[in-house]
Symmetry: C2
Subunit: 208 residues, 2 copies
Amino acid sequence: MFMGASTKKGYDIASKSRKIVRSLIENKIRHLSPQERSIIERIVHSTADTEYADITKMSGDFVSESIDSIVKGKDILTDINMVKVGINKYFGDIKCYINHENTVELAQKENITRTAAAMKIAMFEGFEGIVVIGNSPTALFEVLNLVEDHEMKVQSVVGVPVGFVGAAESKKALQKSKIPHLVTEGPKGGTPVAVAVVNSLINLKKEF
Amino acid sequence: MFMGASTKKGYDIASKSRKIVRSLIENKIRHLSPQERSIIERIVHSTADTEYADITKMSGDFVSESIDSIVKGKDILTDINMVKVGINKYFGDIKCYINHENTVELAQKENITRTAAAMKIAMFEGFEGIVVIGNSPTALFEVLNLVEDHEMKVQSVVGVPVGFVGAAESKKALQKSKIPHLVTEGPKGGTPVAVAVVNSLINLKKEF
């Protein structure tokens, strides 16, 4: 059903919410494609924060590359388990290596964060697909390095880390790269934003 | 370690972030207890949204009742799995009945949402402890009804559902009740806020 709803009551609430969201932000997103508008509406639905209509930016190839990856059933890689758990109804694999047996050891050895080490583990494991960073700026910087060094096969990046230390900078760096991407400019972002984007991409065929 | 960090690098970032957060909101939360300030700082750290220093409100007994429940190892009940997964290092049980075998059937039978039905299932299963609502206003309304009818044993409620349909109203209703509570007034809230509050409560002894 619509936007994760599994009952009539849930569907009614989601529909009403979507109408309210649309009325609040339609002027801000009028210039975007229907798919891009749908993604941003779902972010605002999930966060109740209309500022996301201003700060969410996508490269022109983000939607097409992401849907291509999803249609092909490639992996989705998340930085933390909260993001993984929120993604619904994907027939491919959703990977998160934060609790992999080698992650902490690698992080300590290289003096990097656990989430950054988890990106390296993903690369060692042959990851290919969409990277979804909902929390960790250092994980996003690591992905940018690994792609630049041609070590990681990334079709698109949902780059919405959150916080006052490095998040804005990591998203600027992603925007400067050639990787198809979605970012939330500035310090804001987080798990619900990341989850909203990916679930919206998975549902895009049904919604249009 | 501090605020979920498991490496030196992660600890350094969390410490730096906490200092920035403190400088941004200290004037707004000066009148609160050290424990209450710590909870709000962690919410702002997790969301990068200083508005939470204005809209987060706790009843005077929220911290003491919540810590009492945690010390006694009582259950923590969440509305959705994303919230459950984000809670770290609790030695008691964290329950979520959204995927329980009877939840969807009960929701359809009573024409309620799945998250509201999950609260009823928790009650049938003998839940006692802290209720954490990170997403669903209908789940929060259900808890208020069940407590009013003396059917559910709730020591405190973290009531931070999000959205434009019912969230603000459900939190107002919680504030009017006698249940020890924390809310975020208005439509904002969500998983990271809920998780920040509970992890802060679990860590409070260590932080002070």
